[in-house]
């Protein structure tokens, strides 16, 4: 009986770095809530409110990033390229 538990202890050993704090757990009750009122005017909708604040246009962004230090990447790429060529 003691053997299997020992092995598993040993296995657990290397990964026993301080566990990163777990992300906040979704509450048990992750159900869509009842709204306190049954109906509301357009101005009180997310869309209506965002339009009024002028914040409607910046919700989604392109997934790539051009300004992210293109120079650096070029340099890095050249260095790695040497390694690739050296290894073949």
């Amino acid at each position: 009986m003691s053997n299997p538990s020992q092995t598993s202890d040993n296995k657990a050993e290397p990964t026993q770095q301080p566990q990163p704090q777990k992300p906040p757990v979704l509450e048990e009750d992750d159900e869509f809530e009842d709204f306190p009122v049954e109906d509301w005017p357009q101005e009180e909708t997310e869309q209506g409110a965002a339009a009024a604040n002028g914040t409607n246009n910046h919700l989604w962004e392109e997934s790539w990033d051009d300004d992210d230090a293109a120079e650096d990447f070029s340099k890095q790429l050249k260095e790695e390229l040497k390694k690739v060529e050296a290894s073949h």
Partner: protein, 454 residues
Amino acid sequence: MSSIFNDFAEGQRTGSGHRLAAALTPVAPAENPDRLKAFFYFSNATRVASDLRYSLFQATGIRLPKQETNAWIEIFTPYWKAVGEIVRFDDAPSHASWVKVFDAWKETTNMLIRGYSTGGLPAWTVPCLYVVGRYLRAFAMKADAELSSQDSAAFGDRFQDDASTDFRNAKLEEATRVINRMFTLCLSDRASIEESRKWGIYDTTNLLFKSYFKLNSVGLSKNLLRALNASSADLPSMDAFPKSHIVTFKYYIGVIHFLDENYAEAEEHLSYAWNMCHQAATKNKELILSYLVPCHLVTTHTLPSKELLASFPRLEKLFRPLCNCIRKGDLSGFDTAMTAAEEEFVKRRIYLPLERGRDIALRNLFRKVFIAGGFDEPKEGQPLIRRTRVPVAEFAAALRVGTHAEEGSRVDIDEVECLLANLIYKGLMKGYIARERGMVVLSKGGTAFPGTGV
């Protein structure tokens, strides 16, 4: 400070379904904490029917057809009993039981359904269905929790699994069957639309969706959708319904498509829910976004902005590391972020679509190679053209950057070609691999990486 009888009488007098439904709400309002007690102690089990007849009708002067009058008394009798069981939690807690509350409430619901099908209750009173159905679910879940805690106390932990897995949701399943009859009751109403219970269809459907999700039988939702589709011609358009009904409905439809991996359709419904959601309903907005963000990633390859997630710190924390890695083309960072949040992603059922973000990260990495490649020798008078013939070795080097490859480790060129072929196949990159020359020949004219401007 109005009593249950006042609400009933006022509801009837003014034709307000919501006022009427307030009479059937089994929670005492803050400003009148003794409202339920007052209602329960006004009578006793032997006299309740005649006392109700007096207090609902004779004392208030409300006159309804005989059949309808009797229907209301039949509804309020089990309601009175249910309220008695609720009051017991205050007055004699050791004898109080959610199972008893549920049983009496189920009887109330059955009587209400009968009131509509044979008692001639008019359609303007359907808010009663919403309230009664909502509490039927709530009480069922409390009863199930009570039963399973009794089970584990009675059998000890050893039998807990056997005893509680099978019957864990017995009352909720019972409740769901009753709510299903409410669904039919609303959908099958043949009256003209102004006087139809069809106005209750989405609210009832939402109750069923919630139950099916809780019972882990999302598949059953498809039956509802089929039934709804079949009668869609007879239903008023969505925007004619109250927004609370529609936003909830759209959310669940969106999630159902999402779980089926129909991300484009899911996105459509979830976007609708997002746009029409009440701006102050933070929790609901967070739930919508938690599915909408993965949808956007898959369908339009876009990421949520800082502004979008600013009011949702939990989502910001959940998605931001991943988004940063996608944008930078940081593959190993992406893998780390996926592993770190794996448990939470799986729990929220969003792991699968998020995983597809790796392709986008790879696309961005290879796109950087293309940009870094600069332009071909300019021909006189011609606009600059990017270098579209890129050695495979450069992509291999980029992979080393993206995966933080260790010094001295080798990148397998076959593997690089495989990744390239995959991106091309998925339409994220346009061109072909000229293997014999070790070159990738990319499409000219700003279409090498479709949709990204180059």
